[in-house]
């Protein structure tokens, strides 16, 4: 008998994306360019995070019509974002047939207390996390893939680095702990003992963990991969650069050959202007998207 939407099937989908680059796109043309450049999936959005940041106001799920057009254009998987806690938006995207839903802090949260119960959906979800506690809480809600939050739309990799390093460091701590110590750690992190035991057993998070939020260059992609990312999300970094095609291809190459400086040096040349970046200290507390949904 066929069983659809099992956790293994949802998590397996993310495993097939490993070592790849998922690109934010806002038009059919951009989606086509991303596919041609070697993206493993596209994230269909109305605005890239840096434009969401600039526009202000309430950021919601994109128009299904626009998402559908992108789904009809490319053969690679199509992801789309919903607001944190907005399960009605998620029901719409599942009905539409998107391949993955990002319950994302980039959009304005719809619920400040609860995330979506993702177990109730056949379509898999990815969620952002800044540490192992957030990651395991999202997984317990049904997330089949995790990404760092970073600080979206900044072109500044510093927060993604902080989040990836923190998760890797915490995984190493878990591996070294006895059960009685894990009980205390579980309490501090707000997760279950069983989840920490699972991490200890596997030596890693139980689902794929990508880097996201501020990745703007091939070197950024390589850095995140060397820190232990399973793959890369690029938001504003491609289509806010002066030569999107070249930057997209270069980031794909850099994600594959992340440990080969020779290839990295080659693909990093003559990429034109990168997206203009934002310094973290220039962001007021209220402008920091990573504080949403913890």
């Amino acid at each position: 008998m066929k069983e659809q939407g099992t956790f293994r099937v949802k998590k397996g989908m993310a495993q097939m994306q490993k070592g790849g680059v998922i690109m934010d796109v806002t038009t059919v043309e951009q989606a086509r360019l991303a596919e041609k450049a070697g993206a493993v999936a596209v994230m269909a959005l109305e605005r890239v995070p840096s434009d969401i940041r600039a526009a202000g106001g309430v950021a919601r799920m994109a128009d299904p019509e626009m998402i559908k057009k992108i789904m009809d254009t490319v053969t690679i998987p199509v992801m789309a974002k919903v607001r944190i806690g907005h399960f009605a938006e998620a029901q719409i995207l599942e009905e539409l047939g998107v391949d993955y839903i990002d319950e994302s802090e980039v959009l304005t949260p719809a619920d400040e207390q609860y995330h979506i119960n993702k177990h109730q959906f056949k379509v898999p979800f990815v969620c952002g996390a800044r540490d192992i506690g957030e990651a395991l809480r999202r997984i317990s809600e049904g997330a089949a893939m995790i990404r760092t939050k970073g600080e979206p739309g900044t072109g500044n990799v510093v927060e993604a680095v902080r989040h990836m390093r923190r998760v890797m460091d915490q995984v190493r701590q878990v591996i070294g702990k006895a059960d009685d110590e894990l009980v205390v750690m579980a309490k501090e992190l707000g997760v279950s003992l069983a989840q920490l035991q699972e991490v200890r057993e596997a030596g890693r998070l139980p689902v794929v963990n990508f880097a996201a939020g501020g990745i703007a260059s091939p070197a950024d992609a390589s850095l995140m991969m060397q820190l232990g990312s399973d793959g890369i999300f690029v938001g504003s970094g491609i289509f806010k650069s002066s030569n999107p095609q070249k930057v997209a291809e270069a980031i794909v190459q850099a994600t594959l050959h992340y440990d080969d400086p020779k290839v990295l040096a080659e693909v990093s040349r003559n990429l034109g202007d990168a997206m203009p970046g934002l310094e973290m200290s220039s962001l007021a507390e209220a402008e920091r998207m990573q504080e949403r949904g913890i």
Partner: protein, 192 residues
């Protein structure tokens, strides 16, 4: 005897883990040097357009074709890997990259989008009990040439087949704990 897993993108570590659990010597194949050292190659699931494009860039595709044609490299393609080794792809994108090793015609995403992805029990020729097969945006074999042996079928079509030292499955044996498909491939590598 070393068996390689094409390490471009996709479920690489899962296949390596399974080969190691079968006591085979497994290596990640990223370049021509490492490809030269293996008796068999697994092309894992992932995105076929991405993997196909990247192996063309570094001369890996050419070498896989050459060694396979000479008959000294067994190749096992799972999901995206099956699309890549197929001789023909029904609904590929323009310029769909392929290795074109096996005399099968494949349709991509034949079961629908991700929400239609599924797992099911499956009879696999030569195994004495069904295996749990995980299908993720999986392709299907629509047609086979002479000399292709069908190993497993669903009502929708063929989901596993073999032709000489080539093996293809629509599903992902690397996502369950069952090692029988990997053992089957290891035997193919030994016997070539």
């Amino acid at each position: 005897m070393k068996i390689g897993v094409l390490s471009v993108q996709g479920a690489v570590s899962e296949h390596i883990g399974h080969l190691e659990n079968c006591d085979a010597e497994a290596i990640a194949v990223k370049n021509r040097e490492s490809l030269n050292n293996v008796s068999g190659l697994i092309i894992p699931g992932g995105e076929s357009t991405t993997i196909g494009k990247l192996i063309e860039l570094f001369g890996l595709a050419e070498m896989i074709r050459e060694r396979s044609r000479q008959g000294n490299l067994a190749v096992f393609g799972t999901c995206a890997g099956m699309i890549l080794i197929a001789g023909s792809v029904t609904d590929g994108i323009r310029g769909q990259p392929k290795l074109g090793l096996m005399d099968i015609q494949v349709r991509r995403n034949a079961f629908g989008r991700q929400k239609e992805s599924f797992e099911t029990d499956l009879d696999f020729r030569t195994f004495n009990s069904p295996l749990t097969a995980v299908f993720i945006r999986a392709p299907i074999i629509e047609d086979t040439g002479a000399g292709v042996e069908v190993l497993a079928e669903l009502p929708e079509g063929i989901v596993a087949a073999r032709q000489g030292n080539l093996l293809a499955t629509s599903f992902h044996p690397e996502l369950t704990d069952d090692l029988r498909v990997h053992r089957y491939f290891i035997n193919m590598c030994k016997n070539q």
